[in-house]
Symmetry: C2
Subunit: 148 residues, 2 copies
């Protein structure tokens, strides 16, 4: 690992930022075109759906999806308004709420995945070999793991 900040490093960083921005922008735009809600909704619904228990505490959602607690709170308001999730008082900790996904939440998840998956193939995996996908996964994992 090199201690000095090279031009190559700056360029690589800039491209990482740009690539992600573009990918997200493209997928979001596909979702909008299909009259579907934004990616953040998908992420939250997916995390709840993944749980065997079928439920998740709000702060757990925040951790998984990388949203601050106030944004989780308000995003869940919207999801609940649309009947995609339900909040239940948590018995173990009366401050908190368990969030469960509803039938129509699961249905939306499926519909969104159709669009999302296509984008992922079209904008991402199509352009990389198996080895490259693996490389990228390794490098980004290293960046995620290290807080500094």
């Amino acid at each position: 690992m090199n201690a000095k900040l090279t031009q190559a490093a700056i360029e690589s960083w800039a491209r990482l930022i740009r690539a992600q921005q573009l990918l997200i922008e493209r997928v979001e735009s596909d979702l909008t075109a299909a009259e579907l809600p934004p990616l953040a909704w998908y992420d939250v619904l997916l995390e709840i759906n993944r749980e065997d228990s079928g439920q998740l505490r709000q702060f757990e959602i925040g951790d998984k999806v990388l949203l601050s607690k106030y944004n989780v709170s308000r995003l869940l308001d919207r999801l609940e308004n649309e009947g995609l999730v339900e909040r239940q008082r948590c018995e173990q900790d009366r401050r908190g709420a368990n969030v469960i996904i509803t039938k129509s939440g699961k249905a939306l998840l499926k519909k969104m995945w159709v669009v999302y998956e296509r984008g992922l193939e079209q904008y991402f995996s199509r352009h990389l070999s198996k080895q490259e996908i693996e490389q990228l996964a390794v490098l980004t994992a290293r960046l995620i793991e290290n807080p500094d």
Copy 2:
């Protein structure tokens, strides 16, 4: 390049998104802690400053920084309010404006770079070898270039 969407591809994509989110979040948080404005300000000021002519049309800024025209318009309002840039009527095209960076704009750029550079080293380049930085640059470039 593989046509089918594998689990490995999904995981790699997810990490790319997550890595970028975390990096940005960390740098933004450092900037806020140093009582400096957000990264977007830096990006715009940098692009103008880069030009030999010392000026840039608004739509050029939008292209370079990946901002939609209405957001460029309003971001420049804020920058202009802070005396960091100035807008001048464009003689060749009276619809448009040339944006130039002021002295205090350049000064801010320098101050922000101190924080930005440190973050870039600390959150990014420190964790990757020269070869890995290069690899990442190649892969992300491929994703950027290919609109589909």
